[in-house]
Symmetry: C2
Subunit: 232 residues, 2 copies
């Protein structure tokens, strides 16, 4: 019986690396990247014709990619009108922070039972943010910031929660485009992040949870204010 050979189990995990991706998925990947980078600002219309010609893919393939991104809420689809890069409303922003609070606070409660590497991963993202700030790469600071929060969510050890958080973060970045000064928006959070990791390393989990919660509420308030200001 060769089915129980030890190397078989080893290789089964590598199966995913072998899975080539379809064109539609790759198209979705590049669109997703452009959207969260801001190259395709919220409200932009993506017509099947132009986008298909630009990327040299057929309409059908492009439509498959659109469906994926619509499902991720990065695009909205209006029947017979086409797809548009999502425009976040204030309600959306508030709901996203509501979701984040629940996810991240719930996850940080697992910090007590988490593996040391997971805590280390959180710390590493703060370091990345510090590094980026030192080199004045403010957009990278924002990216590291988001990865910090994903690392916190990862404390729950749940692939599904990780995936959900990935989507929430991607959607939230749509809203960050309203912040005209990335430095002023992202920089202050570095010290807060470090505060959280310090508490985590010291095992003061309850305190870390509280700090995270106020942190998120503060960030929400700031973003909502920027939104209202822009509406005028």
């Amino acid at each position: 019986m060769t089915a129980t050979d030890p190397w078989v189990e080893l290789l089964t995990g590598d199966r995913s690396l072998l899975d080539r991706t379809s064109t539609a998925e790759r198209v979705a990947d590049v669109l997703r990247q452009r959207i969260i980078e801001g190259g395709l600002p919220p409200g932009t219309r993506l017509s099947e014709g132009s986008a298909g010609r630009a990327l040299s893919v057929s309409r059908n393939t492009l439509r498959e990619a659109f469906r994926l991104l619509v499902h991720e809420r990065l695009l909205v689809h209006e029947f017979h009108r086409g797809v548009f890069v999502r425009v976040l409303s204030v309600d959306d922003v508030q709901d996203l922070y509501r979701t984040r609070r629940l996810l991240e606070v719930g996850a940080i409660r697992c910090a007590g039972t988490a593996a040391p590497e997971q805590i280390a991963a959180v710390v590493a993202e703060v370091q990345a943010a510090v590094q980026a700030a030192a080199e004045e790469r403010w957009l990278d600071v924002g990216t590291a910031n988001m990865r910090f929060h994903q690392a916190i969510t990862a404390l729950a050890c749940s692939p599904r929660l990780d995936e959900i958080m990935r989507q929430v973060v991607a959607e939230l970045r749509l809203g960050f485009h309203v912040m005209s000064r990335p430095r002023e928006f992202h920089e202050p959070y570095i010290v807060l992040n470090r505060g959280i990791t310090d508490l985590l390393s010291r095992g003061e989990f309850g305190e870390a949870e509280r700090l995270l919660e106020t942190y998120l509420s503060e960030a929400e308030a700031q973003l909502v204010q920027a939104y209202r200001q822009m509406a005028r």
Copy 2:
């Protein structure tokens, strides 16, 4: 200025009712229904040819529907091999309960600030389960049970969390098919659900939270055991 007329805002909400759905979405709806009902058991292969002929839709449209359900994790897509109804592993079941615990426990913490109608909605689902049990409609008991948990999640007042929970529940129902006796599996939870609603009505939120947590862990253990038993 007619833009500020009071009825304008009223009607904008009805816009969604007007949005006809695409064929792909309707196809996805019927497939989703068949899957969670068990008509298409886990592992079933859905070939584009047969399914397309059966539903009288073109391959392209069908593929769009498949993409949607793959994204919801109800189907898995293997490159150049086709789509299959997902087979939940034990790991999946455990991760789903991990996710549920975080979502539901987090949501029930908002019970203190929730509107009375929301509590009433939770109670109503227990009633529905009791009613279904009295008429020995055990599958409906299971459905009411799931709706009970969705009502709990709704306490968080977050459309995104509601959507996430909807997906989690749909995915979890894939796992319920291993339970050969729906009555023995679903019936015992009715009394637990009532216990939770009683605590909620009496304002003992902390106690309700604890009960919910043990509830979920117990259900998980039961399902996991059934899974392992079946693997033999």
